[in-house]
Amino acid sequence: MSGFFAGAVRVEDVDTILRRFRVRIYRLALAISGASDRAEDITQEVSCRISAAIVNKRDVRNQWAWIRQITVHCAVDALKRRETTELTPDLAAPDPNIQRALLVATTLGRLSVEHRTILALSFFEDLSYQEIADTLAIPIGSVSSRLHHAKIRFREEWEKED
């Protein structure tokens, strides 16, 4: 088979794919958006887009790379649509270090959507510069500079909390 979605598409295919990737989509959306309710909305939108693409028999080789790209675009769009992009820290699974996690979430919320996205792709998804460049459709040089600036901005905001 030339691609994952090649050939006849059935309802079961859509269902299987959404079942397989739903949690992963949600986690990436949460890493970028920082709020569970927003992450749920993004997951829903991504699922709709994926099913539409599957119905259109789009040929995709790397499933997760493709779905990740859709998730990042949806998350960025969702955050840009909102007037304030500042996060309301709300993690679905609290742990003993919740205070620190909330502090990080608040600090991330003060960053731009672009900075937040690149930090999530680098730290959460552990992607290489090339993979980040492919996901965001930007040159590889921009990835390193944007990541560098994102870390500097994060550190500045982090220190402001002192």
Partner: protein
């Protein structure tokens, strides 16, 4: 001091935060309404188009203008047929009068011509 130690390592803090995100699971289930709308929407629109096109009087395949013209002609002829017939119209309709032969004679055409001339005058 504890706060300072909390913020000591930015990278570690970020990694911890993202690790937390990696453990999270969605609570809400996917709503199937958008999927249904996407799946049924185009089919419903197509069905409506088909239903309306079958209910509405469709013009013949030639052209709408021609169809209108024919429709108009048909309606005028129907209106003429429903108006009460007068003497002339009953005669001209080809109904044989009392005492008159129903036709077949070669002279019948001549008589009709005379009657028409009388009407024209």
């Amino acid at each position: 001091m504890g706060e300072r130690r909390l913020k000591q390592n930015v990278d570690d803090a970020l990694r911890e935060f993202y690790a937390e995100c990696g453990r999270a699971t969605p609570i809400r289930k996917l709503s199937w309404r958008p999927f249904l709308v996407m799946a049924i929407g185009p089919a419903a629109v197509l069905l409506m188009v088909l239903v309306f096109s079958s209910v509405a009087p469709s013009p013949p395949q030639a052209s709408v203008g021609q169809w209108l013209l024919e429709h108009q002609e048909r309606s005028t002829s129907t209106a003429q047929a429903t108006t009460p017939p007068d003497k002339h119209s009953s005669r001209s309709s080809g109904e044989p009068n009392r005492g008159e032969p129903s036709g077949g004679k070669p002279g019948g055409g001549k008589r009709d011509d005379r009657r028409n001339a009388c009407c024209d005058a």
